[in-house]
């Protein structure tokens, strides 16, 4: 099949699930799962076929290896969380609203497939804004006071933040008019091409405003404030999608703006800004991980931390930094999905978000608890899991350059703090005795299966770095202008 047909399939499958959920109103979860089962192989085929950047459909869509990589991460999370949704959502009280849930869920996936493929910078902005609008209703789905609060904060903070990126886009467009004349189309390829010739001040301001604007959506500290609330109050499959897929989609934009400043020869300072934001996210993530009671908030702050790691990877730059950051995107997507599956199942089992109520996990959630623990060990970057390799690559990239060595050392220290802090919560949950056996439902097959798949994949990626990935990463690093 040719690439444009694959793109049509990728965008049509979630829409099919939306229409099915709204019209048929039966077996919505399975339709959604079917759609996600279609999306994963299609996204792999798109990634494999994206040898060079190409535009599709009257230059509306754009696909290069980097964009396709983000699509793959999204498709993986979509598949795993669609499985888990079937298990998680059957415990809800209000089944009458399930068709709406699955329709929104699939639509959310659709927006996250569409946004990374947007060719024009402005359309990408709209795509990211759409992801917010759709996912707000998913965050507020449970309609409790807490989830409404989370949804309200989410839409206000992210819409406000993303409007900063709109200002950045306008300034970049204005910068381009000095090169191409008053009317032209600002797409990603054009941005790279004109960046060296547009007025420096406008490129700088455009970059910084876009970085801050999309940084809100990525959850980089100190713009992360919506993230712990939204991730903790959304239903767990949605939390996995928010954390594993959405953050990457917004990170993609930042990477592309960064590449434009690199193409213009702006040197190290844009990278330094990204490193500073990444570092702030790591520090903040570490502090809040240490003292955390809510199990899903713990996972959310871990997302802030890991987006910090990805930001550091791209900030350190170089081939190694890009390799580490890209590998980390996929590993984090897999791992965070596994952790949210664990957290969601534990919340159902114990009837509470509070970790002080979750005790004696090996007895209260037999078997499953160990898988969850494996995921927790993996997320701290311990071997033999994939995140160990990607974090190591990012660390080495930082150590290469004497200007970023301090950041790399601090990064290592923070990783140790997070390792201790994160696993300490699990130690307590595993070893303390429980006053009474919890009465909530145990995780079913469709929680076990995605959990097993994710942890197994992490283990494989930890033991074996696929050479094909290296080839793709090499091409992406080359396209981003990374040398050395």
């Amino acid at each position: 099949m040719d690439t444009s047909a694959l793109i049509v399939v990728l965008l049509a499958a979630p829409l099919f699930a939306v229409v099915w959920s709204l019209l048929v109103r039966r077996l919505m979860g399975w339709a959604n799962l079917l759609a996600s089962l279609v999306c994963l192989p299609v996204s792999i085929a798109l990634l494999a076929g994206a040898d060079r950047p190409r535009q599709f459909f009257d230059r509306l869509l754009y696909l290069d290896r980097l964009g396709a990589w983000v699509l793959l991460c999204t498709a993986v999370v979509y598949l795993l969380s669609s499985m888990f949704a079937l298990d998680y959502m059957r415990h809800g009280e209000d089944t009458g609203r399930l068709p709406n849930f699955y329709a929104l869920f699939a639509l959310f996936a659709w927006t996250m497939f569409a946004a990374p493929m947007a060719n024009m910078v402005g359309v990408y902005w709209i795509g990211i804004e759409l992801t917010t609008l759709v996912s707000t209703f998913l965050v507020g789905y449970e309609r409790s006071a807490e989830s409404m609060e989370a949804a309200w904060k989410y839409i206000i903070i992210v819409s406000g933040g993303i409007s900063i990126a709109l200002l950045g886009t306008v300034l970049l467009y204005w910068g381009g008019t000095f090169v191409l004349g008053p009317t032209y189309t600002l797409d990603w390829g054009t941005l790279d091409a004109i960046a060296p010739r547009m007025p420096t001040a406008l490129l700088q301001m455009g970059f910084l405003l876009s970085l801050v604007g999309y940084g809100v959506k990525v959850g980089l500290a100190p713009m992360h404030t919506w993230l712990p609330d939204a991730h903790s109050e959304a239903p767990a499959p949605v939390s996995a999608m928010l954390s594993g897929a959405l953050l990457n989609c917004a990170m993609l934009g930042i990477v592309r703006f960064l590449a434009a400043t690199d193409a213009a020869g702006h040197g190290a300072w844009p990278h330094r800004v990204l490193i500073a934001l990444g570092m702030a996210s790591l520090i903040l993530g570490a502090l809040f991980i240490l003292r955390q009671r809510g199990v899903k908030r713990l996972m959310a702050y871990s997302s802030v931390e890991h987006m910090g790691v990805v930001a550091l990877g791209f900030g350190f730059g170089g081939v190694l930094g890009v390799f580490g950051a890209l590998y980390h995107m996929l590993n984090h997507s897999l791992n965070k999905t596994a952790l949210f599956i664990g957290a969601g199942s534990a919340v159902h089992r114990f009837g509470s978000h509070d970790m002080t109520r979750m005790r004696a996990l090996p007895r209260t959630m037999p078997g499953f608890a160990w898988l969850w623990l494996a995921g927790a060990v993996a997320i701290t970057g311990a071997p033999p899991f994939g995140l160990f390799r990607s974090e190591l690559a990012v660390l080495l990239a930082g150590l290469q350059d004497s200007g970023t060595r301090w950041a790399a050392v601090l990064f290592l220290l923070l990783l140790i703090v997070i390792f201790v802090g994160f696993l300490n919560h699990f130690r307590i949950m595993f070893t303390r005795a429980t006053p009474a056996m919890p009465t909530g439902p145990l995780p079913g097959v469709l929680a076990w299966l995605p959990m097993l798949l994710a942890v197994a994949a992490l283990l494989v990626f930890g033991l074996w770095w696929p050479p094909l990935f290296s080839r793709w990463f090499g091409q992406i690093a080359h396209a981003l202008g990374a040398t050395s």
Binding site: L167, P228, R297
Partner: protein, 226 residues
């Protein structure tokens, strides 16, 4: 670019519109009454629509007439009516829990405008354009943006937050009409549509907020911390 080759009359009208839009932002900042915010927003949107049409006329961008029409229709009419509908359902007329008094807020706004002027002059120097219209457009764009954020920070009613967000986008719209009138039509159309969707979302959310939290002010939203 267009703003460099304007005849003096048009340049003055552009400036007048930009400054009026800024004054309307201060009207929003200086009032306690939610209906005043909404009317000021509607008036500002009409000014932007007029500006779009004038830019279209001056630069020969026929598609901008279309944008002007839609701006007037959506931002000037449909959005304010939707907000009015929300207001009537909420039974709140004024900001009850102000963090800073309107007079203080206006002084803060003035400080932000001065900051915006300085930034605008610096940008003007950097790109070697010191035409008054361009500097003014930049100033107004940045000022309205900053005032929008100020409103988000100091107002607590849900409706004020929505208007704060809309104000942020009005600032960008106004500036972009003067600075980059050639920006593709499609983007502007989708932006308008996007805004409509956004406000619909806000409307639904406010309703749920009222039913779940029992209040429409963000001071009630303090459960999720840490």
């Amino acid at each position: 670019m267009l703003a460099l080759h304007l005849n003096p009359v048009l340049a003055s009208i552009f400036s007048l519109i930009a400054i009026s839009a800024l004054v309307l932002a201060f009207v929003m900042l200086g009032s306690r009454w939610l209906k005043d915010y909404m009317l000021a927003f509607a008036a500002q949107s009409w000014l932007i629509a007029i500006l779009s049409a004038l830019v279209g006329y001056a630069g020969g961008y026929t598609e901008l007439y279309f944008v002007a029409l839609l701006t007037a229709l959506f931002r000037g009419l449909v959005l304010p009516l939707m907000l009015l509908w929300i207001l009537n359902r909420l039974h709140v007329n004024r900001e009850l829990h102000e963090i800073v008094r309107p007079s203080t807020a206006m002084v803060m706004g003035a400080a932000l405008v001065i900051f915006a002027v300085v930034v605008a002059y610096r940008i003007g120097e950097a790109v070697h354009i010191e035409t008054r219209t361009v500097i003014l457009a930049l100033t107004v764009m940045l000022s309205i943006k900053l005032i929008g954020f100020l409103m988000l920070a100091i107002r607590r009613e849900a409706i004020s937050s929505i208007l704060g967000i809309l104000l942020l986008e009005n600032g960008v719209f106004l500036g972009s009409q003067i600075l980059v009138p050639g920006m593709p039509l499609m983007i502007e159309l989708v932006l308008l549509f996007d805004l409509l969707v956004a406000v619909t979302c806000f409307a639904v959310l406010v309703r749920y907020l009222l039913s779940a939290v029992g209040a429409t002010g963000s001071q009630a939203l303090q459960k999720l911390v840490g």
